[in-house]
Amino acid sequence: MDAQVPRDGKLPPLWHYGHEGHDEISTKTLGFWLYMISDSLIFGGLFAAYGVLDQPMSFAGGPGPAQIMHPVAAFGQTLAVLTSVLAYSLGTLAMKTNNKAGVLLGIVGAMVLAVIFLGLEFNDFAVLYAHGATLQRSGFLAAFFILIATHGLHMMFGLLWMAVMLVQVGRYGLSKEIVMRLLNLRLFWQFQASVWVCVYIYVYLRGTFS
């Protein structure tokens, strides 16, 4: 036991009154960071699977990375997702001046750019499918599609979350709870952009120059 009874014989404090001292926003945000750790491990597993299946044996006589990567179009996607994060972040800056309209504008901007991102992605997939590079063609293509699609799925859930926040900001204004959710969403959105950058480098750039 490390406690000392003070010299004057008085007991140390036994009970604590008043506010418990743990800040609700930072507690809930910690929880969200932990969720993102688990999410980053999902992507880690998918990157590992892609790395394993990015071998000539897994092309099964079908197209390899050099044949299916379109780095320029993917760069367009990169620009879209990064500007989407920028738009959203500018929106959260408006929270500092309690500018509800600014926040809404930022969210809408982010959503539009995210839709552009997803549109470019669907288009890319459609082109690949037209050339016979389907999900079922080989192990390599399966890994490619599922990795990109998992990221796309996260973007779609982010879009849904943004739509809900539009409604909630509109109805309830910038209360403590709403601010906390907007900050967590920003965290999520930045994370998705970071994952995309990793995808771009590890999948598209590496694949183009393989």
Binding site: V5, L53, L135, V164
Partner: protein, 688 residues
Amino acid sequence: MLVDLQGPWSPLFGRLTLASIPYSNPIIIFAFVFTALAGLAVVVPVLYYRKVGYIFREWLTSVDHKKIGVMYIILGLVMMFRGFVDGMMIRTQQVMADGPHSPGVMEAQHGYLPPSHFDQIYSSHGTLMILFAVTPILTGLGNIIVPLQIGARDMAFPTMNAISLWLTAVGAMLIMASLFIGDFSDAGWVGLTPLTELPYSPSVGVDYWMWAIQISSIGTTLNAINIITTIVGMRAPGMRWDRLPIFTWTTLSTNIIGLTAFPILGVALALLGADRYLGTHFYTAGLGGNLMLYTDLFWIWGHPEVYFLVLPSFGILSEVIATFSEKPLFGYITMVAATFAIAGISWAVWLHHFFTMGAGPWVNTFFSVATMLVGIPTGVKVFNWMFTMYRGRITYTTPMLWSVAALILLLVGGLTGVMLANPAIDYTVHNSVFVIAHFHCMVLLIAFTIFAAVIYWYPKVFGYKLDERNGTWFFATFTAGTAITFTAMFGLGFMGETRRLDYLYDPSWQPLLIVEELGIFVYVLSCYFFCRMFYVSIRDRNLNRCGADPWGTSRTLEWMTHSPVPFYNFAVTPHVNARDELAFRRSVGADETPPDHYEAIHMPKNTMIPVLIGVLAFGFGFGMVWRIWWMAGLSLLGIIALVIFRSFVHDHGYLLSGEDIARMEGKASQMSIMSETQDEMAMAEGVH
């Protein structure tokens, strides 16, 4: 459909047809009757005593971490019983089916179980015991005890806590459903590819296994987020990191493992799901798949998973041994360091599960050395427990008996584990029953500590102790069964018997198989004592009501609340001054000092959302298993809608006034976790 399904499929019912129900299998019929009777034994009294509303209000919609923990433990114990029955059936089949002239009854060539049925039984034995018995019980214990040990009122996310519980329960319900509608996976709890691919497992069994695990893994990951946030952010004032109780430390490191490892399992199974549902080639042998990818991903989760199970057990051992030796835990700081060393190294050892896959001598040597390194912090823990007992004053209550027996098992399991860590030895015993005996030593030590923990903390939650006499008989029979069965199994491993055999070709194994079966009979006897222990304790509960510190020598914060713990935990948050706070207060004579006044506290409200999410999750799982796309899709949309709906609800709690608390503290001895919360509050006001 993107894949080649054997059998019919319709848009309305998916693959489900009347033929999916095995009404011609007498064993299943018997299981159904038994389960139905057990279910009725619960449902009929609830209806008769008009307790449906009570169950709904107080338990199903509860967000109280203690009630959620109790429900986790009940789920785990029930599934442990079913897993035990599976184990009994395995042993009986093997003892009957030894040798080419062994008899066969019913539809079996040898023994009483045809191969496919036997394979499903050991697959469900493994899956249930690891993921639906031991995991929920340990999660439940953490749920109940950790907030109390750190002086918090509840977990950081009470509603999410309930959702985790119901998702785990849904996984267990899917496995129960597989018993009566369709079949279960026959590819083992590991589910190696390409055996689990559609051509080699064409029925819905693997799909049941896959979705049960996926859904409950989400619950486990959410629970990890919850507990870590609680430990980091909600400790009572003065609870510094070097004062954290050891069980909380082990729970923290366990859940860091859970948070980071379970997503990998999710990926491994999701890619298998893609193969089975979308026709991809992740793990097939042909068209560019790589079956080793599954093995690697699975075991990268699989090895941290076993530490996920064993670290809380080590925490329990630390708490129980310290309490019943009347000494502080020896080497607290190195215990914490060893815990995190084990958790960290556990990420670097996964290949030892498949040394025989041909990775080559250099790779095998690396993983072998890493595996042996894990033995060092584990050994440190054993020594620290020994030195905690040294010059202590040991009282052999049943928790202490279980703990010392667990130590012995750990030594045997550790010895055989280090033997297996050498690839040269592993090349002779991989997939033999020697390995099975090794890991059963480890999981049984976990079971021993679970029993120790349940008996140790039971009085804190329910307000009366469990019967020591029947508890001791339970301990003696269970331990004897363990010793008999698994010593024989080590022997059979050296005789060359491999695992997962429903027919054994070598009659010379018969004597040891019979010994194993005797061990099972002793286990069955232990079930009787287990039930009797609970029956006698509950029958005599009002004669054995206990105070805050029923064992008399407890050391940590949770023993400072009343027994049973009121639904608000501490009336006033304690200020922590020492490691082993209660022992410190006892040493300065302050262990009975109450707070001088009470202030209002904010309590979370019960909610239906978690139970509804659970029901929809079952719909999703069942729909996906049978490829009933409309059921799966609507359930998933429903879950998303519920979450969004919940985010619009503002007021999640209510205020408990200082006066109410003061009155309830006065009547603490008459309260119970089983009573209605509003009855307790009314009683406190003198209105009854």
